[in-house]
Symmetry: C2
Subunit: 217 residues, 2 copies
Amino acid sequence: MVTESAEEYLEAIYKLGEEGQPVALSTLAECLEISSVSANEMVRKLVERKLVLYEPYKGVSLTPAGQAKALAVIRRHRLWERLLTDVLDLSWDQVHEEACRLEHATSPLVEERLAQLLGEPKTCPHGHPMPTAEGEMAVEAGCPLAELTAGQRARVLRVPEGDDALLRYLATLGLKPQVTVQVEVAAPFQGPLTVQVGEARHVLGRELASQIVVRPL
Amino acid sequence: MVTESAEEYLEAIYKLGEEGQPVALSTLAECLEISSVSANEMVRKLVERKLVLYEPYKGVSLTPAGQAKALAVIRRHRLWERLLTDVLDLSWDQVHEEACRLEHATSPLVEERLAQLLGEPKTCPHGHPMPTAEGEMAVEAGCPLAELTAGQRARVLRVPEGDDALLRYLATLGLKPQVTVQVEVAAPFQGPLTVQVGEARHVLGRELASQIVVRPL
DNA sequence: GTGTATAATTAGGCATGCCTTAAGAGGGTA
DNA sequence: TACCCTCTTAAGGCATGCCTAATTATACAC
Ligand SMILES: [Mn+2]
Ligand SMILES: [Mn+2]
Ligand SMILES: [Mn+2]
Ligand SMILES: [Mn+2]
């Protein structure tokens, strides 16, 4: 077994390493909001337990065993997020923090039953993919909304999690997974995008639009 | 805030103190499966935080603040037990351990929504009363099944939690809260009871029968 | 190539929550 | 009253997970 703290590290290493690059210790420390000394300490323990590989000045990466553990935690996190939104009717900006605690208190049995009850959901409420019980995770390919040109239509795949205020803002715009958007104007020089969402038209900063992943139609 | 460990202590002190007597340190230690030295240490911290009162050689008891915290934890525990059995379809012998972890990872918001979803349940799956959100807990009066005499009918109020094997056994007998039982024979000299449960007839040891609380009809 | 900014590590500490060993305090019994 | 057993507490330790300050190692830019 792995402590709650170690689970948090594995989860962070997975997410930061999704680009394929090993994760710098300092990046990991910043992400977890701890000192790099503490990160170093824990990473050494994880190396000992063969859950991660570490090369100083290169970074940390997950072993297959570490990745399996990380994906299990992420699966639990996203299953809880779904339960909290779909069954307990919390808003999508309230669920991350709750799920971050519940994920560490979840047995494989409860994980399985949650998945059954929810109908084996394919994503979390923010559109991020659900790892399977077997530790597979298929990331649906897409592109940032910011890359679309005027006139293009697209379906929203996922939005950034983790910033509650941003999520509340996106909710007021109706910008959530599965929704269809159409770019009306893409201002040049990295200017804002005017997008139509449902009946409404909104202006989005390019920076924000680049964080929203869509599939062009 | 109070740590997970402190919550466990408060919960134990509440349950052990339900008779009204202060709880001996050694009793508390045994219940929590820790050394009495460790119990002493934590109790001193709880005294400092004005959550318990402690008199050496007398025992520990909860202050109003401590009782409120204890009841909140117990409420969360029992709400999770209900969710796990009623919504996630776990059996009643599987839920205690799961709920014991989840109870510490539950915000007031989730607590409230759980209660709503479940329809403000009055008891846990084992028949034990649900504290209200305001920190009230009404224990339905009853008597041990062992005290009934031949011919008496009664409704089961609650069964002992905490022993999974016992719970599985009771499940095979159909002896669960709300069920009506009729004593056929109460053997003298603390002998076993023959009881009718639904269509079936079972013989129960007096010791076991004394742990099942019923309301005579 | 060398210097320097950045990254990593060492050293030393602190809080929490548990432990064992051993000494002290209370209370019942012979 | 004296003894003994149990309960409590004191002393010292250990593991985990975090910290700061100071030092060392490295990579990259010049
Ligand atoms: Mn977490
Ligand atoms: Mn999510
Ligand atoms: Mn618990
Ligand atoms: Mn129960």
